[in-house]
């Protein structure tokens, strides 16, 4: 446990110092994107990794978060710092609404249902011209007030300011998810994942827990969407596409479902790889599709999961040996 915390701390220090080394704008951009999409992966992980429900509308919630920030700042003149929490609350509320309906049915239907809702969100964004700009998208979302000043105070450019915004958001997300996982609430989610009937008869209010997991999960997606809106500055309905959801699903699977490091590791690896293989963008599912299949068939626990399993196996073996020795001594 201790060692793992040190790992996170070291990673944070390195990440925090990175902009001071004046990396290229390209590298910084990749870093920001990885952090934003990793947040969405954390959000999905709450439902898929911890609660065992497959959510397929997360790009939709990500886009709702982004558009809320975009619309409130551009059309209503709100400050980003107000619009951002509003976007998070809206996503939580919509997540609750969706959950109220979708969780009344059992497992399989939830996935189908959210898939449909994801498409509907994209369509609404695409067709509601007066609000979202429709096909044209939403242009010129401004950077948050004070971000540039902050960057300049450090002697850095605005892009570094965005980097720190994303980093702080990611840290908040990871801490929130870690706290949720370590709580009695989180253990109840794990129980639901392991078997809904068993969780129910053990006295867990399955419906209420799923609803809260859903709200938490969509709120995180909206939180990431808010950062994305100000970072990219331009919003189009493609952000809400099912393909985006599946891309993030792949990140999560590669890294490791239900693990704390998995979403970040998977996103960093797969996003980085996609960037490295330029020209892949449009046809990435020629590779991502089969990769999803291979992962669930042969390594459903992902990279971090594989590592944790190996560690657990060693621990059990060590304990077994210790017990055997005790028995011998007795």
């Amino acid at each position: 446990m201790k060692r793992v915390s040190w790992g996170w701390a070291a990673l944070l220090v390195v990440a925090a110092l990175l902009p001071l080394l004046r990396p290229s704008g390209y590298l910084l951009d990749i870093g920001v994107n990885i952090m934003i999409f990793a947040m969405v992966a954390y959000g999905m992980n709450v439902l898929l990794g911890y609660t065992g429900q497959l959510p397929l509308a997360h790009a939709g919630f990500f886009a709702i978060g982004a558009y809320t920030v975009g619309i409130l700042t551009l059309k209503a003149g709100w400050s980003f710092w107000l619009a951002w929490p509003a976007a998070v609350l809206l996503c939580a509320a919509l997540g609750l609404l969706l959950g109220l309906v979708a969780f009344r049915t059992r497992g399989d239907v939830f996935a189908i249902f959210t898939l449909g809702v994801g498409v509907i969100i994209m369509l609404v964004i695409n067709k509601w011209d007066s609000l979202t700009g429709g096909n044209e998208g939403l242009n010129g979302v401004n950077p948050p007030a004070g971000l540039e000043a902050f960057a300049q105070a450090l002697g850095l450019k605005l892009s570094a300011g965005f980097y720190y915004l994303a980093l702080v958001s990611l840290v908040l997300t990871v801490v929130a998810v870690a706290r949720a996982r370590g709580s009695t609430f989180g253990l109840s989610l794990i129980a639901i994942r392991g078997g809904e009937d068993l969780a129910r008869s053990a006295g867990i209010n399955v419906y209420a827990h799923k609803l809260r997991a859903m709200m938490f999960s969509t709120a995180i997606a909206g939180f990431a969407g808010g950062v994305y809106a100000v970072y990219i500055g331009f919003l189009g309905s493609a952000a809400a596409s099912p393909a985006q959801t599946f891309t993030i699903l792949l990140y999560l699977l590669v890294g490791g479902l239900g693990t704390l490091a998995g979403p970040l590791l998977g996103t960093a690896l797969m996003y980085g790889l996609t960037q490295a293989l330029q020209g892949l963008e449009d046809y990435r599912f020629l590779i991502f599709g089969p990769l999803l299949v291979v992962l669930v068939m042969f390594a459903p626990q992902g990279l971090v999961g594989l590592w944790l399993r190996e560690r657990a196996r060693r621990a059990v073996r060590a304990q077994g040996r210790a017990q055997a020795q005790e028995v011998n001594r007795a």
């Binding site: 009344r104 049915t105 399989d108 996935a111 449909g116 809702v117 067709k127 699977l253 599912f285 669930v296």
Partner: protein
């Protein structure tokens, strides 16, 4: 009145196509308990295979349709054997995710410029006659769609009720454990069910494609519709799928005229959300 009759014909043709696609999906769900997200992909492949037969190889329509159905059936069976069967005891999200992977792979493969490309394509209509039924003009293709889908649905029903293999599929979709106890080879049944579902989807696609356009994403749209249908009809229920298919087709055809056409493709899903909010079990709950 004429317009109404016209719409009625359109709705019937659409309903027939939905029924074919939804039937395969509901059978697979009944037997394997897996919502096959790749089903729309099979439908899309069926359309493109027929398209290729017609335009690239210059085959006649019927031959193209049959070859497409066979090919898609084979692909579906292989999918069962190499993906869904090995994952049958895994947590439910795993086969679902695998199916999504397959769907997106199929789409990307078809959309690749070296294959068919991402753009919409028009399939030449094999039947160009126009029939006049009591003042209503109906294209021959629509009549063919209606006739063929009715024929296939009845054929399928005969197969499920009157043949041993069909009865086995029915038995398994009712009760998997029970079927195993009775000594049914559940392995082969799974593969066969997948093959049938693939063939049905391909036939549906080949029938409707000359009326609509073909595109790599046509499967995604169809997926939403048929999933809405089978949830409404009760997952795994055969009559439910047929009733649901025609309900959706009528809602779309008649509703599409009054409600914004932008959302015609998701009317079904919007209805589904409403229905599930009120009746979580679907309209035609299967008796346990």
């Amino acid at each position: 009145m004429t317009l109404f009759l016209q719409q009625l014909f359109n709705a019937a043709a659409l309903g027939g196509v939905y029924a074919l696609v939804a039937l395969g999906l509901t059978l697979v769900y009944g037997v394997m308990r897996v919502p096959n997200f790749a089903h729309g992909g099979l439908y899309m492949l069926g359309a493109y295979f027929t398209f290729a037969g017609l335009t690239r190889l210059g085959w006649p329509y019927l031959l193209s349709l049959l070859v497409a159905a066979l090919l898609v059936a084979a692909i579906a069976a292989l999918m069962e054997r190499f993906i869904f069967y090995p994952l049958r005891d895994a947590p439910h999200v795993q086969p679902m995710i695998a199916a999504i992977g397959v769907l997106f792979f199929m789409e990307a493969a078809i959309a690749h410029p070296r294959v068919f490309g991402p753009e919409f394509q028009t399939m030449p209509s094999p039947i160009n006659t126009i029939v006049n039924v009591g003042g209503v003009t109906v294209t021959g293709q629509r009549l063919l769609v209606i006739a063929a889908s009715v024929l296939v649905v009845f054929g399928l029903n005969y197969f499920l009720k009157r043949t041993l293999t069909g009865a086995t599929i029915e038995a398994m979709s009712q009760n998997r454990q029970g079927a195993r106890l009775v000594g049914i080879d559940t392995n082969r049944v799974g593969m066969l069910t997948f093959a049938i579902s693939g063939a049905l989807a391909a036939v549906a696609a080949a029938l409707i494609a000359p009326i609509n356009l073909v595109s790599p994403s046509m499967g995604e749209v169809m997926n939403l519709k048929v999933f809405a249908i089978i949830i409404l009809g009760g997952m795994g229920s055969v009559p439910g799928a047929i009733v649901g298919a025609f309900l959706l087709a009528f809602a779309e055809t008649f509703g599409g005229a009054y409600i914004s056409t932008d959302f015609a493709d998701v009317i079904g899903f919007a209805v589904l959300v409403l229905v599930l909010a009120l009746k979580p079990q679907g309209l035609f709950r299967r008796s346990a």
